[in-house]
């Protein structure tokens, strides 16, 4: 049928038809319709199924408060969105919507048997059963419960849409563009400051959209706002939360209201708004009444029926009965009557109702029943009629109707006010909480501020009924199937705070977050407990105001832009060579350079052999670098690092070990003194930012008297390590102005000069144990210099090697990697780096902690080398070490393997490990129990190659 569209009226465009489908069935509506109004116009009453009992449900509200009519909208592959509220879905051509949480169909839902047995599933039923047999919970009960629960289906593919985000600033932000909000915006705009006015609906106007008398004014005001260039008006934008200092987060829906082929650009946009003043004009939401049968499709809020009729030109029924406890019900009824909707009767719990309302109703030939309450609703999937009774207990009389309108009074929308930690005050007249105090520059205007005259009424939605509460089937939370009696049961079972009652019954925890159920639940609880509402408390509102897509919240941080991936200037060259990468902190680094069909082991073996026998080139650019400059530079480093720095000659390098104040190793690196007042520090790749921040901390807050400054030069320098017996021969032809001879340029020294014509800081250092240089050149020249060195290197059989080979080569020499061979609980002595601690220094960061009882106690884990009895067995890094392999589990573990590799140079495996009392165990055989076998290994010094270091001077 299609007889529910009124002859005229509404803001819809009757000349423009919109075709759509619901549950596969072709339907149509007009431009300006919502999915809900278009379906109602077609006589659709049944929209969804409830969460728990799968009861048939219709439309309750006309806005974001809607708990029942949830649909899934399908905009094509990857563009499926579940749980959308039909009244908030703008109609567009080709809209494809389906109902949810029903099996197999909306009309005949087999799971509705739950409803028959609902007596067995009261609040908290799951706590009381499903415990036997033990295993059955996860195996049987839980899977079933999980399948019955949930609403729509999650998307199962990648979302092709993208999302925008921005920051915005204004002097005044107005949330809600009803009459009060628009007035506030106009007033603020007149002052000249930047104003942002946002509203969640398709067009601004709020309540005025449902009141044709206000449309001319609305036109005018909208035009005025549009004309002011200091005003930004954002419809389809929901303020989801208020955060500290008037930081309001809102999300704008850009394309979901358009047909798929009209949609272009980002789907949604996140607005992160910092406002001087925030004005909340979010209005109020009408409250349902709690009576037997109040969830039959066709029972809805009076304000919703008014909106459907006056804004969308749709009658929600042919014969309506209004159940009111508030004047607004009468006013809406009269407005509906005026719009041509047939109101059969107005039933009001109150005996004394303002005479002009009664006269108005009589004049409209509407039967009036004061002092009566609806006690029952007939009809299953649609209303057939109601039973009313005097004071809810008298003899019942039936009234035929096909829709029932509830006018239970109003709840100010104070969500954002609460987000801002504004306090609330109980207002008897409203029967609701209204804003009280806040420390933010924040105010509420219009209905949400409690300042709105839409008549008087009773507070409290529970109507008197012939049945006792514990037998009542009156619903409070429609989506979660919470009945008044569930709240009674919760109280009976000892739950007295609203937080408890809410969690036990799940009242207010559905996707509408209690917009229509919180206050009714609260007042029912207060009634049962015979205690004032204020003593029961109000559940705090949390962001978001309405459900918000993850997509808009993550904005641009999606896929390729999720997080920056840092690459050195030589990275592209490595890629061209087919390098395999690993991520290290924010960087990616070449791990190895496979040739042909080589796997990692083969490639690394080749790279290692070549470095040891000829030469290898390695991109060390990601190492952190800090320029330390000033007269007190040496003094500062002396206080930061464990070892002495004042005595370091310009032109020389030193290994620096950095501890936290807790005495454990946090970073290391080789640093150079370029001039009496200038040092070039290096840190680990991952430690760069951390170390600089730590040094700044000490410099600024502890030793601010020192004349020294720190500058990050990590990205100023590209660093090319040239390592191997032929290293000098490779760079010799390229270097100008530096005498590379061993005498003039010994190991652990630095020179400034030129290479390939560009400035260089040339370090003679080695992390491989071979003769080695680290060429520092300004990053912009890094690639060119690298290629020059590479070309030269080809004459000497050079390889490019990656981090894996670097790890193997340094392990052969027993050099540690902070973060791999140390783990934040390792002291210098534990790591065998006691030599790097200045014994004579009175103080350095972390020194005092090294004297703590447990740090000086015997038996600490110490870094040692391990040689497996089977030279080909490569231990797994992280494998645990025991002294007695035959002990039962739990075993006593005395350490773990920190580094382990096959060493091509030595033709066997090598490993480093942290072992309790390790240095006293030299020569001991320890055991590494693996799942399939136990590997035994001998404890040795962590130095496997060229112990005397002769190759350094090759």
């Amino acid at each position: 049928m299609s007889g529910f569209r009124l002859a005229d009226g509404g803001r819809i465009d009757r000349r423009t038809k919109r075709n759509f489908t619901f549950d596969g069935k072709a339907q149509w509506g007009y431009a300006g319709d919502s999915l809900a109004s278009a379906l109602l116009a077609q006589g659709q009453m049944l929209f969804g199924r409830s969460f728990k009992y799968h009861r048939p449900r219709g439309i309750l509200g006309a806005g974001v408060e809607e708990p029942n009519a949830l649909v899934t909208v399908d905009r094509g592959p990857g563009r499926i969105t579940p749980n959308l509220r039909a009244p908030s879905v703008a109609l567009h051509d080709g809209l494809t919507a389906t109902s949810q949480n029903r099996f197999p169909t909306l009309k005949t839902d087999l799971i509705a048997v739950n409803n028959v047995f609902s007596a067995f599933f009261p609040a908290g039923f799951y706590n009381k059963t499903f415990m036997w047999p033990r295993a059955a919970w996860e195996k049987v009960y839980e899977p079933i419960i999980r399948r019955l629960a949930g609403l729509g289906d999650s998307p199962t593919t990648r979302d092709p849409d993208h999302y925008d985000a921005t920051y915005a600033h204004c002097e005044t932000l107005v949330v809600g563009a009803g009459p009060a909000g628009i007035a506030a915006a106009l007033e603020a705009a007149a002052g000249g400051g930047r104003v942002i006015l946002i509203d969640e609906q398709e067009e601004i106007g709020g309540g005025a959209l449902s009141d044709p008398a206000q449309w001319p004014w609305l036109e005018e005001a909208s035009a005025k706002l549009a004309a002011m260039d200091n005003v930004t008006v954002l419809p389809r934008t929901t303020a989801i939360g208020h955060y500290h200092q008037n930081f309001v987060v809102a999300a704008e829906r850009l394309t979901d209201h358009l047909s798929v082929d009209e949609a272009e650009g980002a789907r949604e946009k996140l607005w992160r708004i910092r406002a001087g003043e925030v004005v909340l004009a979010m209005g109020a939401i009408e409250r349902p009444l709690v009576f037997e049968g109040n969830d039959v499709p066709g029972v809805m809020l009076a304000s919703a029926a008014k909106t459907f009729a006056l804004r969308y030109g749709v009658a929600v029924g042919r014969k309506l009965v209004v159940m009111a406890v508030h004047d607004s019900g009468w006013r809406d009824a009269l407005a509906l009557h005026k719009a041509g909707v047939n109101i059969a009767a107005i039933v009001d719990m109150r005996r004394d109702v303002a005479s002009e309302l009664i006269e108005g109703a009589r004049a409209a030939r509407i039967a009036c029943y004061q002092g009566y309450a609806v006690t029952g609703v007939s009809g299953g999937q649609a209303v057939k009629g109601v039973t009313i009774a005097l004071a809810g207990v008298g003899k019942g009389q039936k009234i035929d109707c096909d829709a029932v309108l509830m006018a239970g009074g109003w709840t100010p929308t104070v969500h954002l006010w609460s987000h801002a930690k504004g306090s609330l005050r109980w207002d008897e007249a409203w029967g609701a909480f209204v804003p009280d105090k806040t420390h933010e520059d924040l105010r509420c205007v219009g209905a949400c501020g409690g300042a709105w005259d839409y008549g008087k009424g009773l507070s409290g939605g529970l109507l008197p009924a012939p049945k006792p509460l514990h037998d009542s089937k009156a619903f409070v939370d429609f989506q979660n199937d919470v009945k008044a009696r569930d709240i009674g049961l919760a109280v009976q079972e000892g739950f007295r705070s609203i937080e408890h009652i809410k969690r036990y019954t799940t009242n207010g925890m559905a996707t509408d977050q209690g917009k229509t159920s919180n206050l009714n639940g609260l007042q029912i609880a207060s009634g049962v407990l015979h205690r004032p509402v204020t003593e029961i408390g109000l559940t705090t509102f949390r962001p978001p105001y309405t459900p918000q897509s993850f997509g808009a919240i993550l904005g641009h941080h999606k896929e390729a832009l999720f997080q920056p991936l840092r690459k050195s200037v030589i990275d592209d060259w490595a890629a061209a060579q087919g390098a395999v990468y690993e991520n290290v902190a924010q960087w990616r680094r070449a791990r190895y350079f496979p040739q042909g069909s080589e796997d990692m082991d083969a490639a690394v073996a080749r790279e290692c052999r070549t470095v040891r026998s000829a030469v290898g080139v390695f991109d060390a650019s990601t190492l952190g670098k800090i320029e330390v400059v000033g007269p007190d530079a040496a003094e500062f480093l002396n206080r930061m690092y464990t070892n002495p720095w004042k005595s370091l000659e310009p032109g020389r390098c030193r290994y620096g070990l950095l501890l936290g104040e807790h005495g454990f190793i946090i970073d290391d690196g080789v640093s150079a003194r370029l001039a009496p007042d200038r040092f070039h520090l290096t840190t680990t790749t991952g430690g760069a930012a951390r170390v600089l921040n730590m040094m700044e901390d000490y410099l600024q807050t502890e030793w601010s008297d020192l004349d020294v400054w720190l500058t990050s030069t990590t990205e100023q320098w590209a660093v090319i390590a040239v390592q191997g017996p032929k290293a000098r021969r490779v760079i010799e032809p390229l270097v100008e102005g530096i005498d590379l001879s061993p005498e003039a340029f010994p190991h652990m020294s630095v020179r400034e000069g030129k290479i390939c014509g560009v400035d260089t800081r040339l370090f003679r250092v080695s992390f491989t144990g071979e003769l080695g240089f680290e060429v520092n050149v300004p990053a912009e020249h890094g690639r060119a210099v690298w290629e020059a060195i590479w070309a030269e290197g080809q004459k000497h059989g050079a390889v490019a090697y990656g981090t894996e080979t670097m790890h193997v080569l340094r392990a052969e020499k027993g050099f540690i990697i902070v973060g791999q061979d140390t783990d934040g609980t390792v002291t210098p002595d534990d790591a065998g780096l006691g030599w790097a601690v200045g014994k004579k220094k009175p103080d350095f960061v972390g020194k005092r902690s090294l004297a703590r009882p447990d740090i000086v106690a015997p038996g600490r884990k110490q870094l040692v080398g391990l040689l497996t009895d089977d030279p080909q067995a490569v231990l797994e890094e992280g494998a645990q070490i025991v002294a007695d392999p035959n002990q039962p589990v739990p075993m006593t573990m005395i350490g773990h393997v920190t580094s382990s590799y096959h060493s091509a140079t030595l033709g066997r495996s090598i490993a480093m490990a942290l072992v309790a009392g390790g240095r006293d165990r030299m020569g001991e055989t320890l055991h590494i129990p693996m799942p399939d076998r136990t590997i035994s290994a001998k404890v040795v010094a962590p130095m496997f190659y060229d112990a005397e270091g002769s190759r350094l001077n090759g």
């Binding site: 920051y167 600033h169 990205e715």
Partner: protein, 176 residues
């Protein structure tokens, strides 16, 4: 049945553009090579003498490419190949960081909106000629308002690719 399509472009595949990109009301381009120095000193006068330039006195001020970033810190964006003396032995720090950063330029009426897509500052209220260190989402940048509609953005070299593409994502018309 979950089926996750491959992403079109990965973080590793992002490219740093070389040519200017024109979007609706905004143009993104490279500022080109510059000499850059980090200048530090307790006493601005001593430093000013060393580098032979006037140093703006207030944080956020800028004079001839020298920006006051902090009470003892200035950042100089100078013509390519400008060399400043190190002032060795003096209580100052003059450090060449020419290669550390790249300069990107956003210009046009929509430039402010592009920058505001990820920068939390109220840039509309930032005076022409002023500059500051801040962030674009999680990435540190230095923003210098060279003219009403022209913004010079300094970013560390390895973050430039991400920033370039983040700007593109916020540029109407230039959207990938």
């Amino acid at each position: 049945m979950v089926e996750i399509a491959e992403i079109a472009v990965s973080a590793a595949e992002l490219k740093l553009g070389t040519e200017p990109v024109q979007g609706a009301g905004v143009r993104l381009s490279h500022a080109g090579p510059r000499s850059r120095y980090s200048l530090r000193a307790r006493d601005a006068k001593v430093l000013a003498e060393v580098v032979g330039r006037t140093l703006p006195g207030k944080i956020g001020d800028q004079a001839e490419g020298v920006i006051c970033l902090g009470p003892d810190e200035w950042y100089a964006i100078l013509a390519e190949d400008t060399v400043l003396p190190r002032g060795e032995g003096l209580p100052v720090s003059v450090t060449d960081v020419s290669s550390r950063a790249l300069g990107l330029v956003l210009e046009g009426p929509a430039a402010l909106a592009v920058l505001s897509s990820g920068c939390p500052l109220d840039l509309a209220n930032m005076g022409v000629g002023r500059a500051t260190r801040t962030v674009f989402e999680t990435v540190e940048i230095v923003v210098w308002r060279e003219a009403e509609d022209r913004w010079h953005v300094e970013v560390w070299r390895s973050f430039a690719t991400w920033l370039w593409n983040a700007f593109l994502a916020a540029m109407p018309g230039a959207h990938g």
